[in-house]
Symmetry: C2
Subunit: 147 residues, 2 copies
């Protein structure tokens, strides 16, 4: 996927990923050791009623699905940031997640003609079709045709 | 840290974390397998000139520093989302990162008097004092005094 491949209004679906209890606990212990991410018993007594994934774990799984969609030889030059991210529903052990990607904008760079900025809207859904996370992500992408 | 402890204008510093090459590679392989996160040789030839951490790895390390600052018995009820996140500088192996946290707003909940919404500005800096990431994060927090 290069800059030319991002057409505003176009949409795609990623593959899916299933998140396990062990992965939720491991990510939580490493990066987000709040009780409802790392302690099953404390999570049961929390307002969530059970273990839930760190939002950063959910976002990282979203990234993996996006990278798999773009492919290993994409023109990605990384991302300057995220304009808005919302965690809408808890992600729980066994949830199967997919991402709907829509191209919002594709802006050629003025200073560097070999690249452009793309603005993408991600909607991550669980196996029940519920939106669990949305995000507006920015990406710098090379053109396929670089003169 | 409970809702009463978040006073707009107040600021705090977290502890620090040093990120290793092995951690950058492991996170990249699991969540963000772009060449400049998982392949040292390809990273050297990339515009970054060497291996850099996935932005989601950097954000997850930021979360760990924040959780350590808030402490294990905080009133955190999780986060509805992020209003703006910017990755400003690459994070490289050996970088030592700290986070400056400033309270932007603290808004009591109208519907649930036992909690409130806090809006926090994070600035993550490396050992050279350069800003590597900024973020406006939302958090739901219980009051210490719940009637």
């Amino acid at each position: 996927m290069f800059f030319e491949d991002f057409q505003p209004g176009e949409a795609r679906e990623t593959g899916s990923v299933t998140v396990t209890k062990e992965e939720i606990l491991a990510f939580g212990r490493q990066f987000d050791p709040q009780p409802f991410h790392v302690d099953e018993e404390a999570a049961r007594r929390s307002p969530f009623g059970g273990l839930i994934a760190s939002g950063w774990h959910t976002a990282s799984l979203c990234m993996r699905l996006i990278v798999e969609l773009l492919g290993p030889d994409s023109g990605s030059l990384g991302s300057p940031g995220i304009d808005e991210l919302r965690w809408l529903k808890p992600v729980r052990p066994g949830d199967e997640l997919t991402v709907h990607v829509e191209v919002l904008e594709a802006i050629p760079s003025r200073s560097k003609p070999d690249r452009g900025l793309v603005k993408l809207h991600y909607t991550m859904r669980n196996q029940g079709g519920e939106d669990v996370m949305t995000m507006i992500a920015l990406g710098l992408v090379l053109r396929r045709e670089r003169s």
